[in-house]
Subunit: 230 residues, 2 copies
Amino acid sequence: MDRPAKPAVVLLSGGLDSATTLAIARAEGFACHALSFDYGQRHRAELHAAGAVASAIGVVEHRRATIDLRTFGHSALTDAIAVPKDRDDRAMADGIPITYVPARNTIFLSYALAYAEVIDATDIFIGVNAVDYSGYPDCRPDYIAAFQRMANLATRAGVEGHATAIHAPLIHLSKIEIIRRGLELGVDYALTHSCYDPDESGRPCQHCDACLLRQRAFEELGMTDPLLNA
Amino acid sequence: MDRPAKPAVVLLSGGLDSATTLAIARAEGFACHALSFDYGQRHRAELHAAGAVASAIGVVEHRRATIDLRTFGHSALTDAIAVPKDRDDRAMADGIPITYVPARNTIFLSYALAYAEVIDATDIFIGVNAVDYSGYPDCRPDYIAAFQRMANLATRAGVEGHATAIHAPLIHLSKIEIIRRGLELGVDYALTHSCYDPDESGRPCQHCDACLLRQRAFEELGMTDPLLNA
């Protein structure tokens, strides 16, 4: 008989990166517990995408936590600040993006740590990427390593000698490499959602940084973004 | 003219320890931004106490964030598990308490980090204590130091070279020393709330670990807990 699969918590936004991360965790044999956040996003398409991706790739359960980042405000993702459009690579790479949410990955990973402790998991997957999002402080390898060290001092599992691993399998990949890996694993990118500023029916704007990054990556792979045909 | 006071975020539960911590931050000259959490506590007396303490000691503002620890459950503070009563010191000190909430301080400090980033603060105060609560992994000095290292890699302030300090001024104090320090600073402990299992009007049960720890400390100082006369 097979051994039961080891549980893992996988942070799942419904975007291209987190969908690929979930597929990687599944391919590594983990029993995946997906975790999404309702954090006052201006648009709901992201949460719908997370549900569709979780069903398509396969998870043990999918929990959604409501968090309250609007208490502190200050981001185009939660406030009524204009999302930048049609920026070139240099503009995107220059400094911390306007769409940065204060301490977001720290809050998300903290919830993942609580969830992991409750289900006796010591593996957490997060789809951060240091290549295309170099402007986000909490997407860098040093940050992930520091979170892991902290996590191992924070929890019952750590105290009992069971080390928690924070897996960031995309951290050194380009967007093209991420998509190539996902396609190998059968990810249906038509289900994912990346746009910072979709219309009311959830269709991508095709002009924000997130839309442009994925369009260009699919183009370089000789493909059309499957989301645009969906 | 005086320089404007430096801003700090102070985690404020409304308990004896966080009230003392707020008084210490004020005495050190910080302009205090208090942060409390509504995390599905079974009783509301704690949040009422936080408001009363913030007003009495003096804060620039007091924000309350609603968080969703019940998504993951597993604690006498949020679930309908019986709170242990009338335990002696040895039973209290033995292992991780039933009232432990998974990753709670990590989640609380992550929100404090977001709040600090929004108000341009690089000082965060938390009333954790390693002496009376040795069973909580996330109350230990090593944990606080690891969180601080992670925080400095997580945020815009860190990237720009402004180090964040996590202050835990009570961490090495006994309950008696905490109360003595608070009384010197004029803290009105009648406003605070510690009980894990109050009655409907918010009065303490006088039998849970939190009640017993503070009663014994006041007794050893030759006092009656002012909460019992309130």
